[in-house]
Symmetry: C2
Subunit: 285 residues, 2 copies
């Protein structure tokens, strides 16, 4: 594949040349937000929801996107046409901008990248995932900031604990994984997910909507203790949709295979995604 193009503000630039000046507050002060969505068969999945969140994050962080929703869609269309990567991940990053004093927010820079994303497989789902808990609370939890300092720093800790990812908690109340939301199915069969101090994922929202017809659902605090008694557990994200959790710390969850509720929700979610992106060959928005 050729080097994909990147949008830096209004300019299409080959990825190997797409850059920001070092005076940008994202480099000087780690100040920026982003969002990330998937395209399937050239169709952006849940685009409106992702744009809603992108504008929300920008506004919370006092960053001006500098484009309205239609202008942003036109830019995305241009990038997708240029790159022609049907199954991809698209990331919009908005930074604090080229600040003369390295501190004061100025006009943000907007960077949009697109990369191929392999299609999900039943194999990945069946293999599930293992989590290790760690005490940490993301700052600005309801904003999709670029702050993954702790997540990346914890990679050796995750490997040492033979886990695939970390589950954050504060004083025993679990919140989320760095790039996914967390759900349990209680012994009584209720689907529960944390309600506060988290980033509200788009797939999390879809799962709650889908579950409502079939299961009792609750958005509330979950303790690590309750996690250990869960019948099922799974995580949700744009990249991996629903992934069963088979172990948390030293505790095996369920029977080490995808539980009934997890499997049902996963099937329903794939159905909804297929409706959202029904195999069209050209960008459709």
């Amino acid at each position: 594949m050729n080097d994909p193009y990147v949008l830096v503000n209004d300019d299409l630039v080959p990825e190997k040349k797409a850059s920001l000046l070092v005076s940008d507050l994202v480099i000087q002060r780690g100040y920026g937000i982003f969002d990330f969505f998937k395209t399937l068969h050239n169709i952006p999945v849940f685009l409106e929801e992702h744009l809603d969140r992108f504008f929300h994050s920008a506004s919370q962080m006092r960053l001006s996107v500098g484009k309205d929703r239609e202008e942003l869609k036109a830019l995305l269309h241009t990038l997708m046409e240029k790159n022609s990567i049907p199954d991809s991940g698209i990331r919009l990053t908005l930074t604090g901008g080229y600040s003369p004093d390295g501190y004061e927010l100025v006009k943000p820079n907007l960077v949009i990248t697109q990369k191929p994303l392999p299609l999900l497989s039943g194999e990945i789902f069946q293999k599930g995932t293992r989590l290790v808990s760690y005490p940490h609370q993301r700052q600005m939890p309801d904003v999709k900031t670029i702050d993954y300092l702790m997540a990346i720093w914890l990679q050796p800790f995750i490997r040492q604990n033979k886990a695939d990812d970390v589950l954050y908690h504060r004083e025993g109340i679990v919140s989320e994984c760095p790039r996914s939301n967390f759900f349990i199915v209680t012994a009584a069969g209720t689907l529960v997910t944390p309600s506060r101090n988290i980033l509200k994922g788009i797939i999390r929202m879809k799962v709650l909507e889908l579950a409502a017809s079939q299961y009792q659902t609750e958005e509330r605090d979950i303790t690590l203790e309750e996690v250990r008694t869960a019948k099922e557990a799974f995580i949700t994200s744009t990249t991996r949709h629903i992934l069963p959790v088979f172990r948390i710390d030293d505790q095996v969850i369920g029977e080490g295979q995808p539980g009934k509720v997890t499997a049902w929700l996963s099937n329903e979610l794939e159905r909804v995604v297929t409706i959202a992106a029904p195999g069209s060959a050209t960008p459709a928005f």
Copy 2:
């Protein structure tokens, strides 16, 4: 003045062209560290101490500087000769690097910038500063990360409270300001500064050393309540050395002018800085 040069790894680049690719983890994930020191009359002030901390930060964050101390000094020398800015601030930034998957740490990028820094004046010292307290704990507090998300986000809050900067605390235990350390002089005349959950500043260290000959000093927790009864308070930083604090929240500290201990320490510190940079005209290391 001409556009100063910037070192991007081993390349001298004019500031207006100094850039990093958008794939750098500093842009993708806010992952990076830095340090910042002053030059006076072309002499780096407390350089060894700053380099100690820079290597410490890098090691804590699992980033390889890729150069030893002497190589780094040679680079600094090259940059200073090229720029010829006798009174300046020099910043070394080390990033997570151009990560193919946007998550895994790779070979870091090193960026070194130099900018003019106005000399300190007695006027700035006499004017002092006003702080407003805010509940926040920096992650990785003993590492000089680029994470100033909260500090920048709080700028409107600081202005609304007619303050100049924010004083972080957690559950009433104060820690530091975003870019400076915090000291009080108690009613009994003891100099106290927080000992944990802070970045240990170079000027903080120098002040503790200088004070030891003259005052009782303590490194320990300070509560917001104790701050309110302080006889004097001041902050320390590389940029501003010692700055008296005249108000914290609604509480006037001392008599609204620099206290005796603050003034004595400030004089002693200026004496030590003058010994460190005695007016030589050429880079001396």
